[in-house]
Symmetry: C2
Subunit: 180 residues, 2 copies
Amino acid sequence: MDMTEKKLSSKLIYDGKILRLHVDTVELPNGKQSIREVADHPGGVAIVALDRDGCVLTVKQYRYVFSRVVEEIPAGKLEPGEDPREAALRELKEETGAVPERFTELGALIVSPGAYGEVLHLYLAEGLDVGAQSPDEDEFLDVYRTPFDEMVRRVTDGELTDAKTVAGILKVYALRQRGQ
Amino acid sequence: MDMTEKKLSSKLIYDGKILRLHVDTVELPNGKQSIREVADHPGGVAIVALDRDGCVLTVKQYRYVFSRVVEEIPAGKLEPGEDPREAALRELKEETGAVPERFTELGALIVSPGAYGEVLHLYLAEGLDVGAQSPDEDEFLDVYRTPFDEMVRRVTDGELTDAKTVAGILKVYALRQRGQ
């Protein structure tokens, strides 16, 4: 069966700094009409960064949406026209000061396909040379180092809940377990 | 350092079927002001469902935001006031027809903490009795069964990109590898 939903019209609600919201009227496969609310996002990058001692770098920052400090792997938004790999190296350096010896793609993630357009590109950074942080002017974050096995335990046990952090750490874990 | 961002004002932009968008002015830890765009979401559930043959159930559905069919573990939104566990059992039955013998919490995920308020509750469903699907009126989806090891390979290799699917499958994989 063709499951395509055909766009009939689109109404732009908001076009802001990060988010862009539009509400579209679509034709469903059964011929009926429905609306689709879509929050566009410029896309992002996230990095599983392992230092020479086998520790994972994470950052803790206040997340306004959840009114609390959240621990995550380093990550950030794509600048307009920016290559994801370059963006990931930039964000890693800005947030942690680290420059990796080896840098590998870990694939993409779509974070919430129902209504949110964000695509996140995951990378593995190894053999880090760590210099000084240089966060954005309105970014406040602390960097932490955790042995990899301990981090696998923490994401598996639900101590860390950020989806890109859980997916990124466990992708590296599964690749290692499978000898890749 | 106290990293709290204090809300100074909030402007509601849109209040729709799924999404609610507001733009808040906040005071940063350094005393400066900034804006925070927030897309609220009612929260959701997702289920790693294993049948009696050790196969994972996934659904393929057209995702308008990405203009393509996406393969995901069964999932859905919370109804107002609904308990996440009840919602997960409901969604699993609606989307796949399955009723589990054992049902275990796998923890929560925040899918994109920068601007999106969605919290997703993950569950493991085992020992499935599979009846007929009963999807929502405007929901069109096909159910697939894949051996668990093959699914681990597919999410690790980046064949599947849905974040809750990657995180859910690899959480179950890590729990098994670690003998939990």
